[in-house]
Subunit: 433 residues, 2 copies
């Protein structure tokens, strides 16, 4: 039991006081490497602080490298300490040697139970052809989720279910005028760009400025539509600034459409949440898109979009004979998964893993030559960040070494329509393998 | 026990001899309405004939209206006989008063078990992103199925999995040159036509001649591609003649592509099987498509196509970054379902229901005023046929009455790009509700 004196009247926040105590105990050797710390609930009870405060303290110490956490086991004192004052480790299981794997995270037993119940008790609805928009129960569950998670007020009728973001782009292509000109972020999501291009849209790559899409170039592009990732730019991780958001909405209000691809906004790791463009838009020019690929698994293909009224009208007229591309079996299972609160729990779990993965990366930067001096950006939100390496290694060699060291990595240069000449020495690093 | 003298040396096939005996016994009152007949195995043993012969005889008698079969219960003498010689029924459970429902047919318990086993024992592969073409195990299972069912030799590498036929059409649109001109059957599948049209292809409706697509009009259309349903034309039920098949292949050999949509070919009900165009083509100009919508359920969205080598090459180059639109959970479950023999059993079961549904329709034509004088066509294959009604009722009123009488129906006129003026008095009637 940790017995620390906490003074709630001090100007220093309580969680920082706890950090100081634990840090000191570790550095003094009172808590040797490998020691298991009390759970955050126990710590909260022992010290008379809230569980959130206990958790914040532990998160901070993880970020600093003093602690690490192991799923379902708890919090432990690190073997190698950032200050270098503690002993060299004997233990073998460092977090970075145990990459966090999504397949240990997917809620198989819950998913299997919900699916089994659907098949046992709701056979008739599983075999009934849903509307082209998707199963109403799922659209309602998503509307509820968006209210709770993103503070977005959405009519379930406006939600369209698709078999992944690329499928939704195909549907959108069918709703938008032929030969529409679409602006795409440069760098950006290549497979989405390919879908638009192969379906005959004229794609204009627009570079990212420091705080979002380069508005000057967007205006000159004559694009009628822009597909953007303002919450967490893919792949640089940049968050679009508030000024830029309003500039984008102002551009959209001139008769253009913004496709707001909010693909991993559930995983805010630090900072305060930024509202979606959709929720700020009053002109009906924003198409909101999100996917369960990052929040659940990319191998169950479910994504959705919210259509503004004129496009919704067109969808209903044109698409009513077309089948929703997602199996009803999985639509109903996901609806239950969301409605029964499992999705929120799952997001919290993955978010925690991302936080741990981020801390682990920060630790590696401090102690491993391969990562030494790497600068992370785009770490506020999402399941990956971008690392700039002070190295002369070619990007592909660097990526291979990082992968070999157990970190899932991708080369930033691979996401350009026209890759810059020379190496970027920048990789996307994913927190979870 | 039925004791009939069967003469295997007579020119008349054995199954027809059995039919004559049973027919006579029914008409003479020796087998009164409602009598349960021996199972086909028992009959086979009793008469010293093969089980297939016994089954063929029963199928023939079902088709003629003398017998009906009830799932898991066996074969019974019909209450109302085609010749009208037998007594009026007292029994209540006529096949036509119990519409055959697909939700009583879907193999929920097997599907649920296979899915559960996948989730219990193969978690890692369920979470692994498959190639854009789809899960290899499923593509191998489909190749095996095509060999057994359609005598087609297909390299699994050429098979592409998609979330339904419409999704496959979207993929094809991305592989074919922009502004391709595509010939579509008139009448034909509206939602497929809409997908092509909304994706910017120039669609030319080509009318059906008596034995398949009107070749003269196809040649004049300047189409580069034709999407056709030669095994069982949707919606007229017509089977394309052998001459017309070679004419189509000859047209394709001139540098065009044929999309052979084989959507319900599993359900051959009478006559001998006609090989697919794909299996006869030697020039690599046929794209074969099929779907599990008819054979399993349209609400699990899985279909596939077989690409000829040049298109396959293009698919691999262009699409490798794009995600296969079908959930791995369902791809692996379906692979097991096929490999373990359940799919074949299921097809046999549905085929039998179609035969029963067809007989029931034939019976209704003989005794119900609404159906009186209706002429059925397209009854050789598939899950529906077309009925021409000698009526002056408008098509929509007729369809509503038929639906109200418990037969799933659609108006033929709804499948025209340019519907003919006036009523057609023709409906698609589905054997299973």
């Amino acid at each position: 039991m940790l017995q620390y004196a906490i003074d709630k009247n001090r100007s220093e926040p309580v969680y920082l006081q706890i950090c100081q105590h634990i840090r000191a105990d570790i550095e003094l050797g009172n808590l040797p490497p490998g020691t298991k710390l009390p759970s955050k609930r126990t710590l909260s009870a022992d010290l008379g602080v809230s569980v959130i405060t206990a958790e914040t303290a532990y998160s901070q110490l993880i970020a600093e490298g003093y602690l690490y956490s192991s799923p379902k086991r708890g919090y432990f004192v690190s073997d190698t300490l950032p200050s270098g004052t503690a002993a060299v480790p004997q233990r073998t299981a460092l977090p970075e040697e145990e990459p966090i794997r999504t397949d240990t995270v997917f809620p198989f037993s819950i998913w299997a139970r919900l699916m089994r119940e659907e098949m046992a008790y709701h056979q008739s609805r599983l075999l009934t052809r849903p509307p082209a928009e998707g199963v109403p129960a799922l659209r309602e569950a998503i509307a509820g989720h968006l209210k709770g998670m993103r503070d977005m007020t959405v009519d379930p009728e406006q939600i369209i279910i698709g078999a992944g973001t690329e499928s939704l782009c195909m549907l959108l292509r069918m709703l938008l005028p032929e030969h529409s000109v679409i602006a795409l972020e440069e760098p950006g999501h290549r497979s989405i760009a390919n879908v638009y291009a192969y379906l005959g849209m004229q794609c204009i790559p627009v570079p990212m400025a420091g705080d979002g899409l380069d508005m000057e170039q967007l205006r000159c592009s004559h694009a009628e539509i822009a597909h953007i990732t303002p919450s967490h730019h893919f792949p640089t991780g940049q968050v679009t600034s508030v000024e830029k958001r309003y500039a984008l909405l102002s551009w959209a209000a001139q008769g253009h459409y913004l496709i707001e691809d909010d693909y991993d906004s559930e995983f805010r790791l630090s900072g305060s949440p930024v509202p979606s463009l959709y929720s700020v838009d009053v002109t009906g020019r924003v198409i909101y898109m999100n996917t369960f690929s990052n929040s659940l698994t990319p191998t169950i293909r479910i994504a959705y979009m919210i259509l503004p009224p004129p496009l919704l009208e067109r969808f209903r007229t044109q698409m009513h004979g077309i089948s929703c591309a997602v199996s009803t079996f999985e639509q109903f299972t996901l609806a239950r998964f969301i409605q029964d609160g499992y999705f929120e729990k799952h997001i919290r779990k993955v978010r925690k893993l991302c936080l741990e993965g981020r801390s682990a990366l920060q630790m590696r930067i401090q102690k491993e030559p391969l990562f030494a001096g790497a600068e992370l950006s785009g770490t506020e939100i999402g399941t990956f960040c971008v690392a700039a390496f002070p190295t002369s290694l070619p990007d592909d060699v660097l990526a291979a070494k990082v992968q070999a060291a157990g970190v899932r990595a991708a080369m930033l240069r691979d996401f350009y329509h026209e890759p810059p000449s020379g190496d970027l020495h920048r990789l996307l690093l994913y927190y979870v393998v």
